[in-house]
């Protein structure tokens, strides 16, 4: 997936489409943001400058579907790292005690098996993107609304973790269709709900390694970057921006460390 930050207006249509597609419920009190579930959250950032120079940008943040094991990964640590390919891992997958989340080598999608999740929240702790959400409450579906839910996605119960699946059920349907039609799953046969919903066309979805797909070309751009690349999570969601400060915001830099530190200590005093 590639998200063009310069095209994003922050309208939130992607978030709404995602909730509707994946049967994410609305809680009784949605003001409690650190407990509400938004598989695709839109972060607002600014360049920190005063009025005339202020610039604002948006980072829509789905699950990054990290592959792990890329450059800057634990492999470069002080001591040796396990060379077992299973250990070149997605941060959240390797920690789950019950294999309730898994990395699919064929598609690169990080799955979540909610019916197997025991709710220990270790994966939530492992994810630096805050892409994983725990069901703190039972969803109070208003009377009649369950009939309007998508039949392709199971609603989740209280006490389990959930997250963006790149609309995996859509891939399954596309595969079924392709099987019946005798063809292959084409680029446009499998698109996520957020991609379709974006009015400004900021989101592009496809196979990163397939040269025929648009995303493959987009990620070659010098303006493409990913969130927290230094951590070695190797995400599959790329962002694009021609603005340098936006690209700088995607990762931690020592040059910025002093400034943020001063701002943080100033803010608390």
């Amino acid at each position: 997936m590639v998200i063009d930050v310069d095209k994003c207006t922050g309208c939130g249509a992607c978030s709404v489409a995602c909730m509707s597609e994946n049967n994410v419920g609305v809680l009784e009190d949605e003001t409690e943001k650190i407990r509400s579930i938004t598989w695709l959250r839109v972060y607002q950032i600014d360049n920190g400058k005063a009025f005339p120079e202020t610039e604002v940008a948006f980072f829509p943040r789905p699950c990054m579907h990290c592959q792990g094991g890329a450059s800057g990964s634990p492999g470069q640590a002080f001591f040796q790292e396990d060379t077992d390919p299973q250990e070149a891992h997605t941060p959240c997958v390797s920690v789950c005690p019950a294999i309730a989340t898994d990395y699919d080598d064929a598609t690169g999608i990080v799955s979540q098996i909610t019916s197997r999740c025991i709710g220990c929240r270790y994966c939530v702790a492992a994810c630096p993107y805050h892409a994983r959400y725990f069901n703190w409450y039972d969803v109070p579906w208003p009377q009649g609304t369950p009939r309007g839910l998508s039949p392709f996605v199971s609603p989740r119960m209280r006490g389990v973790v959930e997250k963006c699946t790149f609309c995996y059920p859509r891939l399954q349907r596309a595969k079924n269709k392709a099987f019946l039609g005798g063809g292959k799953v084409g680029e446009m046969d499998y698109q996520t709900a957020c991609t379709e919903a974006c009015p400004s066309g900021a989101i592009t979805f496809g196979q990163l390694q397939n040269p025929a797909h648009k995303v493959h070309k987009l990620i070659q751009s010098e303006f493409a970057f990913r969130l927290l690349e230094k951590m070695g999570t190797n995400p599959k969601v790329y962002y694009m921006s021609k603005r340098k400060w936006v690209r700088m915001m995607a990762d931690n830099h020592l040059s910025q460390a002093k400034a943020t530190q001063a701002a943080a200590s100033g803010g608390h005093k």
Binding site: E32, I34, R35, Y43, S73, P74, A77, F78, F79, Q80, E81, D82, Q86, E87, H89, P91, S94, V95, C96, P97, A98, I99, A100, R116, C117, I118, G119, C120, R121, Y122, A125, A126, P128, Y129, H130, Y133, F134, N135, W136, Y137, D138, R158, G159, V160, L228, K230, M231, G232, M249, N252, H253, L254, Q256, A257, K258, T260, Q261, A264, S265, H268
Partner: protein, 421 residues
Amino acid sequence: MRRWFDDLPKYADDSSWWPNGTTRCRPEVFLFWLGLPLTIMAYFGLSAFLVLFKGLNQTNMNDYFAFGVWIVVDLAVIALGAGAFFTSFLNYIIGKTELKPIVNAAVLIGFICYTGAILMLGIDIGQPIRGWFGFWHANVHSMLTEVMFCITTYAIVLCIELLPSVLDNRRIGKVPEFGTFSHNLHTIMIVFAAAGTFLSFFHQGSLGGMFGVLYARPFAYRGHLGIWPMTFFLFVMSAIAAGPSFTTMVVMITEKITGKRLTSHKVKMLMGKISGWLLLVYMVCKSVDTLYWAFIYLPSKGLSVGQMYQAPYGSWLVWAELGLFGWLPAILLLTPRVRESYGLLFLAMLLNCIGVTLNRFIFTIQSLALPVMPFEKFFSYLPTWQEWGVASLVLGHGLLIFMLAYRYLPIFPQEPELNQR
């Protein structure tokens, strides 16, 4: 003046159940004091019911603080309970039989800590009914899987290790079947001590490994030695340094409350010395680890140490953990004059135990408090009364078990001899 309890029937007299050659307080006094742990347990019961019935929304945990006070208390009591495995290891396997007078107490405290931790973990997970999935669908690459397996098994081993003490009760031991079984268990205890050592070593380490493997969390991540991150070894070391201290502290507190001498001061001094040396080794490793993390690892990720400590979790935590509650107790415990003094020995051990608790707190809460994405906000967390209620289980059921055990079981073999009139 006649009091109402003077007329209590004779069956309230439980003196025939007390350990040989000891005296205990009157049953009514004992019953009165049992009210304390029972009150705490009632508070726990209410909190646990609310959490299980209404869900984890009863806590103040959220998607930023996925772990809260429960995990801190869990890690802390498991570290403090390490006295059980390490004292058993020294006594049964290394052959340091000078520790014999305190090994029963160590096992009892370990039993309390582990059962408390397991019960709390059962409430902590979102779907307690699926707790067994960790065994059935075990992900052998997860540190948490290893923790689950080893803690559960080690709790069983602790039950077996504690069994002889129960069977040696004056009345129970008279039953030939129990007496013989207890005798046979005593002779084979080395096997259980060895199994306990193996299991404990790995889960103490894996609890540290749990944080060390979070490579996307720069506060917690540490380099690896083999398949284990450095925190694996640091947690083992800090646990075996603090465990003997905690055991001795509990014995000292019991001595002060009961007004009896339970173990000779020589045993306590030896425990202090063991703690001190282990703590010293740990502090050297921990200091090197912290320096490497602060000046080599963090800059490689574009971060500085200053960013890692933000109010309210400021840099005072480092000085407290490594200085006041780290190096200071290590030096104190290694000073013979300090060990000879009852009060100073207690103080040094207390500092040591606070240090390990603080370490577990920092790894659990601060790892999660710090945002990794530069544009993410910083949140702080305070537990609700329900969380404190569940966390106080260890205290409540610990007091209850310890009071009953002290009254009826021969936990302290030196007691009759030390309290002869």
